[in-house]
Symmetry: C2
Subunit: 307 residues, 2 copies
């Protein structure tokens, strides 16, 4: 089944201890869609400016990503400039120009309104609500958010949460949203706000998934080198939703497998700048790393001992 994703398409300037990238194709919808497209058809709802390079559009189109709802407006594409600390879990936003993204009013095409899988990238909750209200009867809705929306549009977000099946946040965002430092308490508190599942992303420490069935914890795939963490969260979401849409089932078991596939996809994207690694990635590599990931976390647990 196919996925509709609403989010940003942007040009990023990124500085990490491993080098820099300038005018690099980025944004939540770009990372998400390229990752998810390995699993299932994806269509993007986003906006770019008149400076959006035709080769970038071609690159997405060539991968079979549906761009009919990628609006082009007069003006500049959104731009983000970030610098990572030596501890790559931390970064500073040096500049953010919303440009054409400011005033973006996402509108879905008739066939997109009938979609089964919807991902609401990190945009204002009121826009996420606007998109959601256009979709007739989605089978699964996942959404991302960030500190800015949690603080400045708290009520909008709280109203949206019961309509979301899966919420993705990082650990600091989870603490902020729940008003609770302990992550277990925070995860449970957010569950009580409405979503069926909360995915707390902890960067190099992996992911905690909270649902009524319990907690699932996976480490991040251990890498010898991380070049650029930009887009890791959206790539994770793309792999996770991609698996679910392909699989068609929404059970605790499929959610857990989806978290592993999300983690696998995220482990690739950080190996190079921007979308570079995803664009050269093969299914064989995904499959091999999935198997390696399962081996990484396999406890060989047929070993009960009794007193």
């Amino acid at each position: 089944m196919s996925i509709v994703v609403v989010g940003s398409v942007a040009y990023d300037k990124v500085e990490t201890g491993r080098g820099n990238a300038t005018d690099a194709l980025g944004g939540s919808a770009a990372f998400f869609s390229v990752a998810a497209r390995f699993f299932t058809p994806v269509s993007i709802v986003a906006v770019v400016g008149s400076d959006f390079r035709s080769e970038d559009e071609q690159l997405l189109a060539d991968r079979g990503i549906d761009l009919r709802a990628l609006e082009k407006q007069e003006g500049k594409t959104m731009r983000w400039h970030g610098r990572y600390h030596e501890d790559m879990n931390k970064r500073d936003t040096l500049n953010l120009e919303l440009n054409v993204f400011d005033g973006f009013m996402p509108t879905l095409l008739p066939d997109q309104r009938r979609c089964d899988y919807l991902f609401l990238g990190n945009i204002a909750p009121v826009l996420q609500e606007r998109v959601l209200s256009q979709v007739m009867s989605p089978k699964l809705v996942a959404g991302d958010t960030m500190d800015h929306w949690i603080l400045d549009t708290h009520e909008d977000l709280i109203k949206l949460l019961p309509k979301i099946d899966i919420l993705t946040v990082n650990d600091d965002e989870a603490r902020l949203l729940a008003g609770e430092h302990n992550l277990v308490k925070a995860g449970r508190a957010i569950l009580a706000m409405g979503p069926r599942s909360i995915l707390i992303k902890r960067g190099e420490y992996g992911v905690l998934q909270f649902s009524q069935e319990g907690i699932f914890a996976v480490p991040a795939y251990p890498l010898e080198e991380v070049v650029d963490p930009t887009g890791a969260g959206d790539t994770f979401a793309g792999g996770m939703m991609g698996f679910l849409a392909r699989d068609g089932r929404i059970t605790e078991s499929s959610l857990r497998t989806a978290v592993v596939y999300g983690s696998v996809m995220a482990s690739f994207v950080v190996e190079r700048f921007s979308l570079e690694r995803l664009l050269e990635l093969t299914w064989e590599e995904i499959d091999n790393r999935y198997r390696a990931f399962i081996d990484l976390i396999d406890s060989h647990h047929s070993r009960w001992i009794t007193q």
Copy 2:
């Protein structure tokens, strides 16, 4: 099979955001032995002063811990005073009095020299070597170390490493020992120094196990409240070695199960101050948390997808 542990027995003063403990029974050999004793017989090689309380000795003896090689010397028992940050992964040592531990010359009893399982707690590498040289043909030797020994007695430690099967270190110690920030590279570099397996303890983020067979990553058991992290590493080692000695096999599979049991035991000890939680712990609780832990990390991985 039984385990011999050499390490410290101390009185701790601990301050955490959850309260304080004073004159609390602690030290690596105390935490290790109480944890390991749930699985298998343990005997302690350590030294205490004339101020060592008879009720503490009785408490260990009542659990069936062999104290024949717990030397009593004139003077004071070792004392440690630590304060944890709000981020409980960090702590400051405010005071350390080695007291009778200064000049400790561990000497094993004849039957201890024939032990199969040996744990070298965090003491000077030259003392760890001294103990090791007294043991005839151990089946498995595990050892712990710390930044102080890595920096100040580097050569002694490097000489010892090839004789150790399992080395336990925390993430900063691994980086320091390997001279490498990336943990995957650090783990592999330390493997090349001789141990068959490296266990990198990452506090609330769990454990990474490196061996020739690959990497095993487990999260920490997510807790709603951590009261006192003191002794978590030694308790982890106690559960880990306890399982291995009970199981009798030393395979990748048993090592992984042992890491899970170690993580389970560590998840209990931090729930209260000092040894309090371990002293009231039942096997049923261990068994239940082991099952909960397996559920926590179970990826339901029978779900390959093919392109």
